[in-house]
């Protein structure tokens, strides 16, 4: 232990003697560790803000939709199997979920289902008022939509009652919308009639409420250009699209938290009776959980790729350390001989040089961590989300750089330890 502290101060003084060389040697380690920490910091920040915005979707929601069956494979003469993308189909009206289906579903599981949310898009468009404009997406919703999505109303109330039943042309707009067109005064917007241009068509709505828009934390568009939703009764949208037979998707809100994944088989079982005979479409479901796990999977792949790159960089850095240690040992042959003559054992010589290699790698690792955290924070800020450096990756980097020191320091240190004192003393 005594020798341990001696060795550390020895290593530091020998690094001081060759500052530029030590820094150049550390460069590989600095770049390797720095790159990993920076990317992990950005990735961590991304994961946090994405799961943040995903949790606003609601953990108890299951979105049920339709997807094209994958059985339309054809075998060519050569035997290759391919999917014919020319046959890509959009669900037609006869494929849609009908009110009757959804009602029957709700009645079958009254204990599990809290509500069913429906939202049908009319399309994206623009509202212009003189010089000002607002980008919007018109979405028809039912009562259940407000159960599934917790809207904060700044003015007016959510859509309900007669307006909903009759499908009146009323709309809830966002505070962004109000900021862009009514100078941020919700009171001025209330009761106003707006004309929304979608494609070449015009739709007229009366504003009955203003809700607070939940900004995506990783959004890159300016507030002025952000597309916000305009909520209107679903029946109004159906009337405008001449589609009164059903919906392409709906969201089930279940009563018990955390049971979303477990409820999926029941959904599949129930709707099987309607879609078993459908040649083109089958049911697809997804939950926040499945979204998150899919996202985590992607992040996992990305970090594996990063790890491999970092590993290569650290390997190169480690070889650099080994190389400089070999140079240093050959320069200090006489010192090694002297130390041996003064009674140093092979083990103490070996320890001295391994500690020196560890110190090089640790200092390099620490500089790399500082560079990486700095770069990561800048990167995260540039992409517009809160930076979150990962403590565990910093600790792992420190340990890893020590391991590199031991691994790449061992061979040179052992070479020094095995030097013959007579030859070492005589070395010119």
């Amino acid at each position: 232990m005594m020798l341990f502290f001696e060795n550390i101060s020895l290593a530091i003084s020998s690094l001081r003697a060759n500052k530029v060389r030590a820094l150049l040697t550390m460069l590989g380690i600095i770049i390797g560790i720095g790159a990993v920490i920076a990317i992990v910091t950005v990735g961590n920040s991304l994961t946090l803000s994405i799961s943040d915005s995903m949790s606003s979707v609601g953990a108890n929601n299951i979105t049920v939709g339709l997807r094209q069956r994958e059985n339309e494979e054809e075998t060519t003469d050569s035997g290759a199997v391919f999917r014919d993308y020319r046959n890509q189909k959009q669900p037609k009206e006869e494929d849609y979920f009908t009110d009757e289906m959804i009602e029957a579903f709700r009645e079958t599981y009254p204990d599990e289902i809290a509500d069913i949310s429906i939202s049908e898009s009319l399309g994206s468009g623009k509202v212009t008022k003189g010089e000002d404009y607002a980008n919007v997406s018109v979405v028809g919703v039912n009562d259940g939509f407000f159960t599934a999505n917790d809207l904060t109303m700044l003015k007016g109330n959510i859509l309900s009652g007669k307006a909903m039943e009759e499908g009146r042309d009323v709309a809830l707009v966002s505070d962004y919308f109000v900021d862009n067109l009514y100078n941020g005064d919700p009171g001025k917007a209330m009761g106003e009639t707006v004309e929304i241009t979608i494609g070449k068509k015009y739709y007229t709505y009366t504003i009955v409420g203003v809700y607070e828009y939940q900004a995506m934390s990783f959004s890159m568009t300016s507030k002025k250009d952000t597309v916000t939703d305009v909520y209107t009764p679903v029946k109004s949208v159906q009337r405008k699209t001449h589609n009164t037979s059903g919906y392409s998707s709906f969201t089930v809100v279940i009563k018990t938290a955390g049971e979303a994944q477990a409820f999926i088989p029941k959904i599949n079982h129930f709707f099987d009776r309607y879609y078993r005979k459908n040649r083109n479409f089958e049911l697809s479901t997804f939950t926040l959980e499945s979204m998150v796990s899919e996202f985590t999977g992607i992040m996992g792949t990305v970090s594996t790729a990063i790890s491999i790159i970092a590993g290569i960089s650290l390997l190169v850095g480690g070889i650099g350390v080994m190389n400089i240690m070999l140079v240093s040992i050959s320069e200090r042959t006489r010192e090694i001989g002297t130390r041996k003559a003064l009674g140093a054992t092979n083990a103490s010589i070996r320890t001295q040089f391994i500690v020196e290699a560890i110190v090089i790698c640790l200092i390099g690792g620490m500089i790399g961590i500082v560079v990486g955290v700095g770069g990561g924070i800048i990167g995260a800020k540039a992409l517009g989300f809160a930076a979150a450096p990962s403590l565990s990756s910093i600790l792992i980097s420190l340990i890893f750089s020590m391991v590199i020191g031991v691994f790449f320091g061992f061979y040179p240190a052992n070479k020094a330890a095995k030097m013959n004192p007579i030859d070492a003393l005589r070395y010119e």
Binding site: F5, E335, S348
Partner: protein
């Protein structure tokens, strides 16, 4: 050094006894040989006990199978405690090889060598390290101070390898530097010292673990004659005042004459042995 201050404050808190205990244990870590000479020393032989005891030492180097080079052809050498012996000989006479052998840097091919009661023939590498550490103090022609390490730390080195506590190391190193009149330069780095100063530090370092033998290989070879004189005076003083056993290897007949006994080495054999001016 961190532990240095720490143990000092501990001393004040928990009493001196505990600290003394710790340093005593550090002393015990030194191999048994440290206690052995004390016992043998009680034998009241007039000429002192034998430190170097060599019988028919042969050293051969194998340069490929058919070519073997015999450098030492059966050396018999006894050096008693308190002696100042010079080994002279021209280059190629086997001086260096003999010095390596005496200094436990190498093992003989044949023969018997006992250094202060330790059989060198059967010693393993690790034992040789311990012998060099505790029984021998080296002084080299080229000083061989460790670079970027202060004079004080250089003197501490052998004690470090003997696992002495930092506090005792520093204390003893200062005392030793005072003996060679270098205490005012103990914080200097080797490249801030002159040749003579470096050699004085090296002599202090050689005495660090109170070795049975000081082995000096051409210690004045790189110095001008005035400085060389100074170094030789230090050796004489150590020999007379402290009773240090010194083996001096040199090619200078004048320097050899000052010692107690002069051995002449030629072609790997001791061809002459006579008393010098320094004989008591």
């Amino acid at each position: 050094m961190m532990g240095f201050g720490g143990s000092g404050s501990k001393k004040e808190k928990s009493g001196e006894l505990i600290i003394e205990d710790i340093t005593e244990t550090a002393e015990d870590l030194l191999p048994e040989a440290q206690t052995e000479p004390a016992e043998e020393g009680t034998a009241s032989e007039p000429e002192g006990r034998i430190i170097i005891d060599m019988h028919h030492i042969v050293k051969r180097y194998f340069i490929g199978q058919p070519n073997e080079l015999e450098v030492l052809h059966g050396i018999d050498l006894q050096v008693r405690e308190g002696e100042f012996v010079a080994i002279v000989g021209q280059s190629g006479s086997g001086k260096s090889t003999l010095m390596n052998m005496i200094g436990a840097l190498d093992r003989p091919t044949e023969g018997q060598y006992t250094l202060d009661g330790v059989d060198m023939f059967r010693a393993k590498d690790r034992d040789l390290s311990a012998i060099r550490c505790l029984k021998i103090g080296f002084v080299f022609q080229t000083y061989n101070l460790v670079a970027r390490t202060s004079a004080l730390k250089n003197v501490e080195l052998p004690m470090l390898y003997a696992k002495m506590s930092p506090r005792r190391r520093a204390k003893r190193a200062k005392e030793l530097l005072a003996v060679v009149e270098m205490e005012d330069r103990m914080k200097h780095m080797p490249d801030e010292l002159s040749g003579g100063q470096k050699q004085r530090v090296a002599i202090a370092r050689a005495m660090a673990n109170d070795p049975a033998l000081i082995l000096a290989d051409e210690p004045t070879g790189a110095l001008d004659s005035a400085t060389g004189r100074l170094i030789m005076d230090i050796f004489h003083r150590l020999n007379k005042e402290q009773g240090k056993t010194i083996v001096l290897i040199t090619h200078s007949p004048e320097l050899a004459e000052e010692t107690g006994r002069i051995l002449t080495l030629k072609d790997g054999m001791i061809v002459g042995s006579r008393k010098g001016a320094g004989h008591p």
